[in-house]
Every structure is written in structure tokens, then in C-alpha cells.
């Protein structure tokens, strides 16, 4: 089985080529932006994306924390091989200069140089019925990750409080997460579930709304509100501060209203792999 090679291929694809949906949204922003400076920044972004793809170079030098979300069937037979393959592929990708050594010891600051360390690469499992697996790769940079926020709101503040929390947080972050950004919002659960849902919300392609009408409406509404901030591309103002908003939710404790916010930079790098129960692997984006 060639899981290891395929994961390596998927890492390279994610790091060098932006998904089609993201490219379309960026191109649309560039076409319609009226602020000259922001328009020039969007032009650089598009030029960069094209150049990186052509030369197979990392789109951004911050190739992120290697993060793998795995949705696997209870009967998926290759769990152990998959985990081992992910680790080997990450190390190999580092040695081949596909990714920057981005994992350091939090106490000494020492960088082992291979992107391998305690809990890193980060693998997050979600188990469901079936015997196949989908592995999502989301190598997210530090600048946007630093704009993440958790709000343990009062239930009385509710959805209005959630909207204010999101707006407040993105204004505070300003240009630092490389806008126009994509917002992943997780509502409900406990603190950890809210943050997990927020990050998983980013796996959905741009333009795809939540399956529930009430959540889909909320996504549209927050997108409009967020673009009234005039943060603009790289903080230079204009119409496009946020490209899209994705919300996921869980039931909450009666006393808690957790809101997780994970901000993704314009370089919304994603790829995924599908593995069936026979070990056939497909790389997709």
C-alpha cells in the first residue's frame, strides 16, 4: 500500500496549490475591490498563487502546523498504518523542503528540524459508521492561528453576543491573520468542542452553506457584518475583509454559551485523501 507516498503528495498539493474555490473567491475580490491599495495586494496574492503552482513552491513560507483531521469508519482497517504513515510523510516532506521545520519545544525553543514532536503532527479523529476514511490536511499558519479566540458567553447574551464576539475578535486581530480571511465558528459544546468545531468548519469549501437553513442564514449574516469592518486586504481597507464564514454547532450546557473562533488566512490551504477498506488511496483537493 502506498499511503505514505500519497500523504506526501497531498501535503505537497496543499502547500503549493490553492483549492479552486479559494482561487475563485480571491479572483472575485480582486475584480470587485475598489480600494487601490487592497486591490494591489490582491493582485500580488493572485500572482503569488499562480507562481507557486507553476514552480511547485510553498505558497507561503509559513507552511503551518501539520494538522490532520481524520473521519474514519469504525471498521476502517488501517488506523495504525495511517498514523505511522502520516508521521513518516511529514518528516519526509520536511527533508524535501516541501515544508518548513515548524515544531519547537515550548520550554527551550529548540527546533528539532523535522516537524515531529510531542502531539505533532496533530491528528484529530472522528469515528463514524463505515470501513473507509477521509483524511483532511489543513496546514494552517501561525499568524492566523494567533487570531483564534474562545468566548465563554453568558446564555443570556446568546446569538447576538456571539455575533459581537466575532466582530470584536476580528477587529482586534486586524491585519495580522492575513485578510481577507475565512472564519470558522463553533457554537456550543464545552470549550474544547467549540474550538474543534470552529477549526473543522474550515474544512468546508468556500461558498458551501451549512445544511440547516437557520445556520446557513447566520453564516451569510456574519459574512456581511464582518465585511462592514473595512479591515480589507492585509488591513488596507476596502470591501473584502472576510471571504466566507462557516459555522458548526453542538448542543450546549444550560449555563454555558461557548463560541470558538478560528481564523484562516487567505492562503486557505487544504487537501484530502480518501482511503477505502482495500487500501486504495485517492488524493483530492
Amino acid at each position: 500500500m502506498d499511503i505514505e507516498e500519497k500523504i506526501l503528495e497531498a501535503i505537497r498539493l496543499a502547500e503549493t496549490t490553492i483549492p479552486e474555490d479559494v482561487f475563485k473567491f480571491l479572483e472575485n475580490a480582486w475584480k470587485n475591490e475598489e480600494n487601490d491599495v487592497s486591490k494591489s495586494q490582491l493582485a500580488s496574492i493572485l500572482e503569488n498563487v499562480r507562481y507557486a503552482k507553476e514552480k511547485k513552491l510553498p505558497i507561503c513560507q509559513d507552511t503551518g502546523t501539520q494538522t490532520f483531521f481524520i473521519d474514519a469508519g469504525y471498521d476502517f482497517p488501517f488506523k495504525k498504518e495511517l498514523v505511522n504513515s502520516i508521521k513518516r510523510s511529514v518528516e519526509k516532506a520536511t527533508n524535501l523542503y516541501y515544508i518548513r521545520p515548524n515544531a519547537v519545544d515550548p520550554f527551550t525553543g529548540k527546533n528539532p528540524g523535522n516537524n515531529i514532536g510531542r502531539f505533532i503532527p496533530y491528528i484529530n479523529w472522528y469515528l463514524r459508521d463505515g470501513d473507509d476514511a477521509i483524511i483532511y490536511i489543513l496546514p494552517k499558519g501561525g499568524g492566523s492561528e494567533n487570531a483564534s479566540a474562545l468566548g465563554m458567553l453568558k446564555p443570556g447574551e446568546g446569538i447576538k453576543g456571539m455575533k459581537k464576539f466575532v466582530i470584536e475578535s476580528i477587529i482586534k486581530a486586524g491585519a495580522t491573520p492575513c485578510p481577507p480571511t475565512i472564519l470558522g465558528i463553533g457554537i456550543g459544546g464545552g470549550s474544547d468542542l467549540a474550538m474543534n468545531l470552529a477549526k473543522r468548519a474550515l474544512l468546508r469549501p468556500l461558498g458551501h452553506r451549512h445544511e440547516e437553513e437557520r445556520v446557513a442564514k447566520l453564516e451569510e449574516e456574519i459574512l456581511n457584518l464582518a465585511n462592514m469592518t473595512e479591515i480589507g486586504t492585509m488591513g488596507w481597507g476596502g470591501k473584502y475583509s472576510v471571504l466566507d464564514v462557516h459555522i458548526e454547532y453542538a448542543y450546549r450546557h444550560p449555563a454555558s454559551f461557548p463560541v470558538g473562533l478560528v481564523v484562516q488566512c487567505w492562503a486557505d490551504r487544504r487537501a484530502y485523501l480518501k482511503i477505502d477498506s482495500k487500501g486504495n488511496v485517492e488524493v483530492k483537493q
Binding site: 500572482e47 507557486a52 513560507q61 492575513c178 479591515i231 488591513g235
Partner: protein, 200 residues
Amino acid sequence: MIYNLKIPEDFEKLKDLKIGDILYISGLLFTARDEAHQLMLELHEKGEKLPFDPSKMVLYHCGPVVKKSNGKWEILAAGPTTSARMDLFEKEIIEYYGVRFIVGKGGMGDRTAEALKNVKGIYATYTGGAGALAAKSFKEVLNVYFLEELGSPEAIWIIRAENFGPLIVSIDPNGNNWNKISKERMENNKKKIFDLIEEL
């Protein structure tokens, strides 16, 4: 206004720049992120000299993706990192080392703007995330310092650039700071947005 600047020959021209001016620069840069800033301050405290002269170069907030082939370093991607993290150290770096021209992304705070004003220096931003495009204008790695201690993203890379840009002036030599101006505007917008949320 659009300017093509040679580094360090054109440092005298910095005093005329204004917020929003577009720059393309050719000449020497040194990269420094959090760890390199800290190390530079430690060396200054110990009275030790740096192996290069920061006052003759542009300070670039960047941790590149680098590749060594046939004994030579090549830069594969080298966009800017978030400059706000360097606000902690930048005033001292400017004062101790004579740095007058900083490039990064996301803007910097008033403490840095004040220090730049005192030396008639500037801070400009390059498009965040445009790592491959930036690397295209980085023609040569002249040296690397502290690679062993800090690892490749945090090490100090001395780079020769050709037509690196467009950079946009974000703090000008008179201490005007786009970050501050835009924060004020966003705070005003926030009030309007909050009112709207209450009405909905």
C-alpha cells in the same frame, strides 16, 4: 508615489516617504523574528558585536523556507511574518543597532513608530502569504547566522534582493501609523455594526 530604492545607498530618501507610498527595493536585507530579536538584545547587553551591520540593511520580519543544494542556500518561500510580535523588542533594536527600515506584515504599534520617528525611519508591509513571489526577488543568500542555535525559520539570513516589492509604507518618518488610523476607523465601524446587531 512609487519609489525604487537602493539599500543602503538611498536611506537618505526615507525621510520623504508617506503612508501608502509604494516601494521596490534592491540591496541587502537581514531576516529576524522573535528569537533573533531577543538574541540581538542579549548580545548588546553583553557588549558583544554582531557579525554584520544592521544599520546598512533592511530588517525583514521573515522566517524563510530554505534549501541547500551543492553547498549553496536557496530561498524557496519568504513572505513576511506578523510584525506585531516584534513590537516587544523593536524600539531597542532600532536604538542599539541603527535600524531605519523595517519590512513585515500586519502593522506595528506606537512604541515602534516613535522609535522610527526619532531616526527618520520607516516600516513598510509586504503582502502576507506571498511567500513564493517574495522569494523570486531574493537572488542570493550571502550568509546565515545563528542557524545552529535558532533553527532555519528563526536564524538571521542575509539576503540580496532585486526589486523586492510592492512594499507599502505603513509607518512614515513622521511617526504616522496606518495601524493606528485604521484601528480608529474600525472602532467606529464596530459601533455601527453593534447597533445593527441589536436591531436585527
